[in-house]
Structure formats: C-alpha cells, structure tokens
Symmetry: C2
Subunit: 694 residues, 2 copies
C-alpha cells in the first residue's frame, strides 16, 4: 500500500488559535497518481473546497455546508477542527457488469469543521481522491438538539470556469429525465439533473453526479452565477428537502475528471463509492437479451388495454416466446397483461391491479410454455406513479411472478413531474417528485422486496442511477432518459446526436434499458392495421441507419438488452439480425476508445468469460471515418472481424438500410478503419480465428 | 350601475347531480365592455379557468388550486358548488400618483369549489373582470382541521399560446430583480419574476403579475411546458411556501390585457385590486425632486465609509443642500452617514448602527441648515440584508429622523439571493429570499413603523411592487430593477433597449427610483480623484444621449425623482438642466401614447393641479421618428412646446451630447414630429401660451 498523499498544510495555526477562525486553515488530499488534488479550507469561516487536475483548478473555491430546520446551520462560522487520512487499494468483482473486476484505489481525508463558538456541533466531510475523480459526502453526528430534523439547504457548490461547456437536461421540470440534452455555457442560467458533463476551456472533461443515493433527495445543479453550480435537492411535497434522524450521512457528491471525453467512459468511481453487495447471491439473475409485446403498442399495431386492440394475448405472447427461443434470447416482456389499462390510469395509477390478468392472458400457461423453451417471461408493473398503491400490492405481485418463474420485472412510473402519488400517514394524497427522498426510499423498498422473490428490477420513469446496483445487484437497469420509444411518437424523435450525447452524460450513471434494435426505421409510414389504430406523424421515424441500431448494443450498456422491433422485421433482415443474436450483454471488460460529446463514440467490450470482443461506434448527423485501434486484443492472436457497417451511400435520412457485412482478419497493433454515415454506426464482432475455423 | 355581466352557464347540471362531478360545470364573468370573458370550470374535478379577449383565448384552460401541509389539497376532486356575482363602478382619488382619479369598474364573480366527497372543505376564488384585465384571488375559509397550516403548492397556471413572446427576468436566481430583461418564446424554459409581459401571435399584450402582496410569498412564474406557466412561490428557509392561520386569502393574481403595448401603460388594475388607504392623511409627504451624496460613490469620487475618502461630510452635504435650494428641489439624500460602512457589511448588515453618525457628519446641524433653505434631508438605512437587526433598531432610527424633519428614508437590502438574515424565535440565524413571505411582512412592518413617524419609504433591493402604495401611501417608490447605478459599474451597463423594455415590464408594477439625469455620460473616463480611487472600466458608460436622460423623468414614473449626477455637471449644462428644474413628479393624468416593448415608448403626463403637459419619448439602439399626437391637450388652446431633442448627428455612442432645445407653438389636433437618435430620446414641456407671455 502506498503512503497516504494527504497533507495537513496549515491546520496547526487553526488549533493554536483555539479555532477562533482568524487564521484560515487548509488541508489537502491527492489522488494516488498525484494528478488530482483536493484542498479543503475554512477561510472566512466558510467550509469550502477546490480541486486541481494536473495544475488546472477545475473546481474553484466552492462552498460546503448544510442548513437545517430545527438546528443552526453548519455553513459558516466554522473552522477545521481535525482531519484524518486513510488510503485503500483493492479490487472487487461484480456479479455482472460492464467489467468483471473493479479497482478501488483512493486516498481519503475526513475533515471535521467545528463552530468557532465551540458549540458541540460538527460538520464532517469525507473526501476520497481517485485517479479518475473525487467524491465527498457529509457526515453530521447526532448531538444534543440534533436528532430528528430536516435539511433545508445543502450549500454544496461546484464552481467551474465561466466559459466551460455544459451538457445537461432540466431538473424540476415537468417530465422526469426524458429530455434531449442541451449544450450551454457555464455562464448560462440552467438547473440540470446529474450526471452533468462539462468541458473546460483547456479540454479537461468533468462529470458531476452523486453516488449511493439511499435515503436522501436527488441533487440537481442550479447555476446561481456564471460558472457557479449549487446543489438543489428535490423537495418533498411539504417543502422539506431531506428528513432524517441523525446521524446524517449524505450521498457522495462526485466529480469525475479526465483529460478527454473518452476517459469518462472508463471510470468506475460511482460504483466504487457504493457499498458492497447487501443481498448476497444473485446468480438467479442472468444477463441476456429479450423481446416483447411493447414496440407494437408504441407504433399502434396493438394496445395496452383491451381497447382498441389488445396486444398481450396468449396467441401473440406465444409468438414472441417462439421467436425468443429460436434465437437464444432469455426473456419475453409482456406489457398490458393486467387489469387497469382500460381505465383512466395516467396520473391515476390506483386503477391498476398487479395480480389480475386480462381474460385473454393466461399467466401460468404462458410462463410454463416459455420455461419449456428455455425462456422466461419478463414481468411488468406500470404504477401510473401511484407509489403507495403499488407498495401495498407489490409483495403479492412479486410472489405471483416468482411462482411463474419470472426473474425480471420492468416497473413504470408514468406521471408528470411532481406527480408521484403518495398516501401519507393521515391518508392524505400527496404528490412527490420522481427524484425526491420519498422515491429514493420507494425504489429501494421495491428492489429489496423483489430480491426476496429472486426478482430483478428495471424501473422506467425511475429515479436516476447512482450506482446502487453494486449494493443491490438485482437493480439491473432502468430508463431515466429519452429511449427508443421517442422514435415511435416523438415529438421530436431522438436526433442523430442523441446517442453520442447520452454516452457521455446519462450513461455515466449506469445501465440504461434503451431498447435498441429497431429495423423498420419508418414504422409510421406503414398503413394502420385497423382504421381506428392511426399511427403517429409519419415524419416521426428512427433517425439512424440500420448499422447504428446494431452498434447501440455495444455503445449503451445494460445487462438486459431488448431487441425492440417486431419479430417479422428481424426475420426480414436475418443478415443484420445475426449481430444481435451474437452480441452478449455481460462483459469481462469495457473500454471507451474514442469520442467527443454529442459527436461520436467508439466502445469496445469483451464477453465475460469469453475471448470475443465487440466494438460499437456511432456518429451524430455527420459522416466520419473512425480508426479503431485494436490495442485491446490479445498479443499475437489472430481474430476474425465481422463488420456490420454503413454502406458507401448510407445516410439515416435518404438511405438508412445500406448495410455492408464483411469479414476481415484483425490483430493487435492494427487499426480497423470504418466510415460512419450521417446518423450511422458500425458494429464489429472480433473472435479468435481458430474458433472461426470450420 | 350597469347590470352584472356574469352568467351561470351550466351550474344547474352540477347541482342536480349532487356535486358528484360527473358533469362539468362552468360559470363566466365578463368585463363591463364585454371584451374580456373569464370562464371558470370544474371539468374532471380540476378547478380551472380560461380568459378570452375579443374572441381570442388569451389564457387557455389553466389550473387553479392549493395544496397544504396538514390538510388535503384543494386542487382536484372538486366541483363548483356556488357562485355569486357583483359589480362596481366607482372613482377614487390618489393622494399622489401618476393620475389623480382612478376608475374602478369591474364585474365580480365569487366561485366556491367543494369536494365531491362532501367534505367540509371549500376553495373560494374571487374573480374580477375589468376592461383592462382580470384579477382573481383564493379565499379558503377556516374549518375543522384547517387552521394553522402551510401552503406547499399553489397550482395556479397561466397557459398561453406556445409561440407567444415573453419579456422576463429570472426568479430564484442570485440577485433580487436586478437583471436585464430577456425576450424568449413561451416555449422556452424559464422562471420569471412578475410582472411578466407577453405578446400573443395575434398581437394582444398581457402582463401577468399580482396585487396586494401583504402576507404571502411572492409569485414567480415557472414555464412547466410550452406555453404553460405555473405559480412558483418564494419559499421560506425551511421550505414552507406560505405560513398562515386560516382563513387564507391570497394576493390577487392579475392578467392585464390590451390589444397593443401602449394599452398596458394605461391600466390601473393593480391599484384597483389593492385596499384603500389605511394610514390616513399623508400630506406630510411631498412628491418632489432630490439630489444627493450617491452617484459620486458609484463613480468612486468618494466612499460610503471613512476609508478611503468619505463622501457624507458636513461640507459636502452642505454643497448639495445649497444646490437643491437653488433649483427648487425638496430633498437631499445622504448615504454613508452612519456607522458600519467601514466594516465587512456585505451580507453581514449586523454591523450597521442606524442612530450613530460618522464624526464628520452632524445630522441635526445639517438637517437644520437644509430646513432653513426649504429642503429636507432624505434619510438612508442600508441594512445589508440584516432584516431582524434592522427591525430591532428601526423605531429609534425613524424617531431620530423625525426629530430632524426627515420625511423620506431610502432603505437598502444589499445581500445576494437567499441572503436576507432573519433571527428566528430560537435565536437561530436564517436566510430568506428578498421576495418571500418574511420580507413581505418585513417591508410592511417598516412602512407602518415609518408612517407613525411621518416618514415615507423608498426601499432598494426591495420586494416587488404589487400596488400597496394605495393602502400605505407612504410607500412611495422602490428600486427592484436595474437602475442607473449599473451605468457606473455594470457589467454590462444598461443597454439602450433597457428603458423601453422596463417601461412595459417592471414599470407596470409601480413607481421606480431609477435615478435618471446623468449628464456626464462617461464618468469612468475621467481621471481618478486620488490614486487609490480607481474608476471602473472606462468602457462602462451611460448608453443614452443627453436628451434621453431628460425624457426618463416623464417615461419612468416615481413621485420622487433624483437628479442623480453631480451638481457641477448640471451647472455645466444649465440649458439641458432646465427641463429637470421644470418637470414635476406628481401628475393629474398620464397617457401612454405609443410604443413597442424594447423598442421605444412615448408617454404624456399632466402636472397635478396645473395646465402644463410633459412628454417623454425614448428609443432603443435604433434611431426613429415619432409623431406625438397632441390629442391630450385642451381643445382650442395654444401651447408653447419646449422641445429638448437629439440633434441631427446625435448618437449615444458617437455623439451623445448633441442636444437641440427649441420652442414651437402647439395645438390639439396636431402632431409633434421628433427624431429620436440611436439610444436617444426627447423631452417636451407644453405650457399654455398665455402663461408664457412676458
């Protein structure tokens, strides 16, 4: 173990003056490689910190602190009273993930700020400096007059260069996280969800986020002056930000730092700041691919409810099960199977019953039919945002699924911003944010209840991901961004730059159930299946090439990946579909190879427990050439590269189906050059040549 | 009295169904002239309203309602239970103002929404329809389980056409109201203070604001979807929005409506929705003009504190008193007279003492010297935002000023957003917004305390104006926008479009102490008076012509108007200064003649109790010709027009001092044509010709 890099700079002066806060103290902690240095100060009695990266001050002096409802604030009149250093270098294994082994290598400094008036209050802040960034969290001990209380203001700031570029989506707005990312200047007014990604004038890339959001409100970032972003916590319906019984331990506030965009793709900092697995063996959860009764509702071939044209019928579900079995997929999602969909459920999810099927859907018969073929049904619980209503039913609902061999349940919280229904202790209906403390608690309650039934959870309209899959590895994926569904009904559909943007923003938080693999890129141009099943505006379409749809399986990580299109559309393009059949969803290693935010991204991933590698590259609205450096391959081994790339005339708008599939020999030390069309992409499978021999 | 225009459309249906909210009810109230119709509905159990203006639905169906901390929300599951109509047409007199007589002519409808479950809760909403707009407020009666409570969400919406244009400044941002106005689309995300001004695609102009903000938090408007603006109340430091003992009566939510921009200038709706005078005779307050020890600090000729160079010295103040007396001004403001300015007061106003002068400032001697010359000192209380600290001293402070014949006190609340210091019941320091309920209460406490000492109040960094000058006519002016001071230090200074923008936004709320009349337009280009008194960036200057500075005295209404520049700068331009000497600050009538938001504005005002009229016209960065229609003059009378206008080569940037002063005969039926330069303006005095005879 290396010696701890933390150093106490001028703390002695503070102590000598009896903490009267006349002389400011400062302490520092550096990353193991020394590139990152955090300086913590109490100048003018204000707890604050700054972060330098290779001599650039990427976070300028920024406030720390908290204010409370019943107790005096811990945000001014404070002095550093003590600090304690520690260090760690260990490697841990994920049960599933984007990489099997994760190295947690950091130096730690725990700093206690005390009131200058010697009141018995203490603000503890624990800092961890990694080679890929910084995390810190508040730890406020229980004390006389500090027991049950509320956080009324978290003062945490992140001050960056005023001219930094910022990629963000709005927080405290109407609809969860489902927005197109915007690019702004740090001088522009904005309130952003996290992860928020920044690029400083010198080219350093930062992602500000949080880790281990367990019993706290989600942090958004509000620009309060040019370059100055302040924590803005999602309030409870009664205005409280966080309700707690002391001691208060906040989530980790995180700043991932890289000299380039691709470095952000290779950070495991968020996972490292979460607690180890608390639910034990999850081998019952198998990463894999799935199809389902889903896209057909979005394009209005069928409906969730009985009216006008029910999709979740026994006959239709068997068709999907047969298809999944034929191609080795392990899951079939069925939405619209339970009672409630024909009622006015939007924003009123209390109409849903999670144990009662529609009459044309026989759960146990279909589940048995699937199991015989080596497939599992994937369950579905749309709550319409009625969280308390769901909590009351979920144990029975999970039990029913467990009895039918279901191991994954997709949940849903379709309700506008501020619209999660909670019934309080008095029976009064309240409306909470999707990312408030109530929902942080709710989602974990659901995940824990599901774990007791050996069920993994994939929430849509969720709270954001803060790496809790490490602690609760049955929390396997989630939505929390604009997914493929927007290409069915928009408006607008996801533009070509969407995927190379979310790769560097939303995806830094964790797995996303994006549902890639749409092959019929203009479904709204097809004739309706029935007169009363009108399609969306035909201008709304998938704004990618076919090759890009394949590349998304590698670029956007999730342990469960849907092949979202209709079976017949895959049968029609068996050639392209082969990549989806081949691509795994669980990885030994993942490497971000190249990219720029919103322009393009190239990822390589190695099958967990295998020798084959997969490369995905996607572009924005511009065509471009990328050179895939094959440095990740084994030395001296020959591989066969199966390349699924855009044809010479491919273009998402004019010629999206122009796909070339070709094989080439490939070796480490070489670079594979591929051209990405406008809105295009490339998907590559690399297998050791011997395995390919006939 | 005209018959009431309110009509009950389908209420009977609702009653017949026992309020089970199956059939929606709707009631309407129309303006006296019938142009404006408000429709109130309970469709789907949601209380809502819409507003039409000459057959255009200017406010589409918009939610009403409230949510509370301890009681169930009154925002859904409601039905219209009763409605009661009334009507009024009366004219009342202002003690001072932009017009002497104000006509209050409206139809009223009080609507009660009741819970469909027959719970004893009621949401009352009182609507008033005027010819110039609509006001409505909530009235929630006291009931069992509804006594002491908190508002946790006000659901009020204002839904406009998605492509409407919006002029706005950000709310919940760092610095009060001191921003440049931005022009956006109603489809853009924004959170705006009120008044927020809109222009619909058809050309209708709306101003959304509030009236009579007495014991409630200020309402900002948050765009929550394209075209949909929702009330966002400034929270207390503990997260509560409004604390109340039932009954709860909200301020009036107001929508002023006009077919054109200038119509907004002629509305008295805000005043009409305030209560009549509650403090009795205020004849001790005399509208007038003042000079003061102020601009010299902003341009760093002197300082507020003793260091580096005290401005409020006996000698200097006497110089201003002499100047005021010479030209018939009735006030001399002195800032920096009291102890505290040399301490670190910014955000820490507890250092100020409001009864102790600096040793080189003799309050009683100077006040006596002024009174002898027919001038009054104008007092100054900068609180640095320490509101509780000020409340504890203000009675003594007002008494001291009263003893010295001071009748106007300028207060100040310089503290960043969220930075008003409040000491709570437990002695804990809290930080409140400038526009939260605490400050609504605080300002009224100050105004009432001042009234007991015959003192008028002019707060800077105030809460916004909601017309309370009608009820408390010693609340004579305030800041609450970017004033002239920004032209001393910016950055940036106010651009040329600033004044023709605030005329249609901020000024719709009420009087502003803008402090016009700067004659040396590039003060930062002058040599510093001492080496350690460095000026601001010389690029920061007044971006107007000299003529425009004169026009502001007519365009921007306040009963107290500063001649903000140094006496020597006025002496140097006695020709131009004559307009400031002549222009009154109290009016018989005011008429908005022409204008477009952010482009230009032309106002005419008639001296209260006199026959002379004054016209002010200001332009943005473009030069333009305006034709002043003299229809406001008396029929058959000849007037002499003294015109102070931009010269042919005037331009704020290249030639700002090019001023032409000329006299012309003028009569009703004619139009005076004047050219406004880029960043220019015109000021015109019209006096009956006989009075001008020698």
């Amino acid at each position: 173990m290396k010696p701890v890099a933390a150093a106490i700079v001028s703390l002695a002066a503070g102590i000598a003056l009896g903490l009267c806060a006349v002389a400011a103290a400062a302490v520092t902690v550096a990353s193991p490689n020394g590139d990152i240095v955090v300086t913590i100060s109490d100048e003018a009695g204000i707890p604050s910190y700054s972060v330098s990266f290779r001599d650039e001050q990427v976070i300028k002096s920024s406030r720390l602190g908290m204010r409370f409802k019943n107790a005096p604030g811990l945000d001014r009149g404070l002095a550093i009273a003590s600090s304690a250093a520690a260090s760690k270098d260990e490697t841990w294994e994920q049960p599933w993930g984007e990489r099997r082994f994760v190295r947690d290598h950091h130096n730690e400094l725990f700093v206690e700020f005390a009131a200058a008036d010697n009141a018995p209050r203490r603000l503890g802040v624990r800092f961890r400096a990694f080679n890929d960034g910084v995390g810190f969290r508040y730890e406020v001990p229980r004390a006389k007059n500090f027991k049950t209380d509320e956080v009324t203001n978290e003062m945490t700031e992140f001050v960056v260069d005023e001219s930094a570029r910022v990629w963000w989506i709005p927080a405290r707005y109407w609809n969860r996280y489902e927005y197109l990312y915007r690019e702004s200047s740090a001088s522009d007014e904005l309130t952003s969800h996290t992860p928020m990604t920044l690029k400083t004038p010198s080219g350093a890339h930062l992602s500000i986020h949080e880790a281990s959001l367990v019993d706290y409100s989600a942090m958004a970032l509000r620009q309060i002056r040019p370059g100055r972003f302040k924590a803005e916590l999602a309030p409870w319906s009664d205005g409280a930000l966080v309700k707690f019984d002391a001691p208060l331990v906040s989530p980790w506030r995180t700043i991932q730092i890289s000299p380039d965009a691709k470095g952000l793709l290779n950070s495991s900092l968020i996972l490292n700041l979460n607690e180890p697995n608390k639910i034990g063996d999850v081998s019952w959860f198998e990463p894999g691919k799935y199809v389902g009764v889903w896209w057909e509702m979005h394009i209005r071939d069928s409906s969730w409810g009985m009216k006008p044209l029910h999709g979740a019928t026994n006959e239709n579900v068997r068709r999907y099960i047969d298809f999944a079995a034929k191609y080795g997929f392990n899951g079939v999602l069925v939405e619209g199977w339970n009672l409630g969909w024909d009622d006015d459920w939007f924003g009123n999810g209390k109409v849903f019953d999670f144990t009662k099927s529609y009459p044309d859907f026989d759960l146990s018969a279909l589940a048995a039919y699937a199991r015989e073929k080596g497939v599992r049904l994937i369950g579905h619980h749309e709550t319409g945002g009625a969280a308390t209503h769901y909590e009351r039913q979920m144990d029975d609902a999970f039990k029913l699924y467990e009895q039918n061999g279901v191991h994954v349940v997709k949940t849903g919280y379709v309700a506008d911003g501020g619209g999660i229904q909670r019934i309080d202790e008095k029976g009064i209906e309240r409306f909470e944010w999707h990312d408030g403390q109530f929902m942080a608690r709710h989602h974990l309650e659901v995940v824990k209840a599901a774990a007791r039934h050996k069920i993994a959870i994939n929430p849509h309209e969720p709270i954001k991901d803060t790496g809790l899959r490490r602690t609760y590895p049955n929390w396997v994926a989630r939505e929390g961004a604009r997914g493929q569904e927007y290409n069915a009904w928009g408006p607008p559909p996801n533009p070509p730059e969407h995927e190379p943007t979310i790769a560097f923003t939303r995806m830094l938080a964790g797995p996303m159930d994006f549902t890639p693999g749409i092959f019929d890129l203009e479904p709204n141009k097809r004739a309706p299946v029935r007169e009363d099943m009108t399609r969306s505006d035909p201008k709304i379409r998938v704004e990618t090439t076919l090759a890009k749809q394949l590349a998304l399986y590698v670029v956007l990580y999730s342990p469960i990946q849907m092949a979202a299109d209709l079976p017949e559309n895959y049968e029609r393009r068996r050639d392209a579909f082969q990549f989806i059949v081949d691509v795994p969803t669980d990885w030994e290693e993942s490497v971000g190879l190249a990219g720029e935010i919103g322009d393009y991204v190239v990822m390589a991933r190695k099958r967990r427990g295998g020798d084959d590698w997969y490369v995905g590259a996607v572009s924005d609205e511009k065509s471009r050439d990328v050179a895939v450096d094959l440095a990740f391959l084994d030395e001296g081994k020959t591989y066969v590269a199966e390349i699924y790339r855009d044809g010479a005339k491919a273009d998402w708008k004019t010629n999206p189906y122009d796909l070339v599939i070709e094989k080439k020999k490939a070796r480490r030390g070489e670079a594979l050059r591929v051209r990405l069309a406008a809105g295009g992409g490339a998907a590559i499978r690399l297998t050791p040549a011997t395995e390919q021999a006939p």
